[in-house]
């Protein structure tokens, strides 16, 4: 948790973590609410971006509605540690891959690389994974689909900010 983030920042960022107001002057509405000027708000919001507090300022789409129906987590076993970066980058370079990570493995969970693969159907996602497998020569992989969602929210950092003096 960054110490330089003060109570005023937390208040302003609270307004940005959901949806900004539907208005032609959304930052003016926020400014009015927080008793700031529109310029101050715009400048602060830009500075949060420059400081990388947020990755992106923009629209988050409902992917399902936009046409991506099947999302598979493809996990890869790459026991040779020295090969992981090269293989991970190659796997992640696919157009259908949105995220690629290396994560720790366990004896009973021997996977090292995780790629999220998106397609129209589960069969399409499995097909893409098969192609990826042939490309990098890793045959020990699995494709996991989610079968039930228990919780899905955006993190509300600023409701849960520990110290706010």
């Amino acid at each position: 948790m960054k110490k330089e983030i003060n109570a005023a920042d937390v208040k302003l960022m609270t307004e940005l973590q959901g949806s900004i107001p539907m208005s032609k002057r959304p930052f003016k509405e926020i400014a009015n609410k927080l008793k700031m000027t529109e310029d101050e708000v715009v400048e602060k919001v830009q500075s949060y971006g420059n400081k990388k507090y947020y990755r992106r300022f923009g629209a988050t789409l409902r992917h399902q509605k936009a046409g991506f129906k099947a999302n598979g987590m493809v996990i890869w076993s790459v026991p040779d540690e020295s090969m992981r970066t090269k293989i991970g980058e190659r796997l992640a370079s696919h157009r259908e891959v949105s995220h690629g990570y290396e994560r720790p493995s366990f004896d009973e969970w021997p996977y090292h690389i995780y790629t999220m693969v998106h397609g129209e159907t589960e069969a399409e996602v499995r097909g893409i994974a098969k192609q990826m497998s042939a490309e990098v020569g890793i045959t020990d992989y699995d494709v996991l689909f989610s079968t039930r969602e228990f919780k899905k929210t955006s993190m509300r950092y600023f409701d849960n900010w520990p110290v706010c003096e």
């Binding site: 539907m22 930052f27 923009g58 969970w109 996991l144 989610s146 899905k152 993190m155």
Partner: protein, 148 residues
């Protein structure tokens, strides 16, 4: 959704203009008026194609820590265990996958000590081991889907 909508979405997914009059900027960039740009974004929000318009905060940028966890739960107990996990406000996604490792969740906390504390608490409440899988390396993040 016509071509102009797609152009707007491609633009505002990556960057909604952080300026006093954002719809003037959007209109200019796709060749329509401020009024039309505003109406179109409002319709995309109302129809639910846009889920949210705001900042995607970064746990690392804010100095927080995030992780992915998994558990092996007997299928008949998964709902009960899932609700123990979901109780925590830092658990943002919690879902079942078609595998022996069937419960998966992401967890975000102000620091690593809080992560260990929470995961231990989940283990003691459910009686099952939590496998903590924090990122070692990121290969790529691409959250926007471009429309052709």
């Amino acid at each position: 959704m016509d071509n102009t909508d797609k152009q707007i979405l491609n633009m505002i997914q990556t960057g909604f203009p952080v300026v006093a009059e954002p719809y003037v900027a959007i209109g200019r960039s796709v060749g329509i008026s401020e009024e039309e740009a505003y109406q179109r974004v409002m319709e995309l929000m109302e129809s639910g194609i846009i889920r949210r318009l705001g900042a995607s905060f970064d746990s690392r940028g804010l100095g927080w820590t995030s992780t992915l966890c998994t558990m092996c739960i007997p299928p008949e107990k998964i709902e009960k265990c899932a609700s123990v996990v979901s109780e925590h406000p830092g658990v943002t996604h919690n879902y079942e996958r078609d595998h022996k490792f069937n419960l998966w969740f992401t967890y975000i906390a102000p620091d690593k000590d809080t992560v260990s504390k929470t995961l231990k608490e989940i283990e003691s409440k459910t009686g099952y081991k939590v496998y903590n899988l924090p990122m070692i390396k990121k290969f790529k993040i691409k959250v926007d889907f471009q429309f052709d």
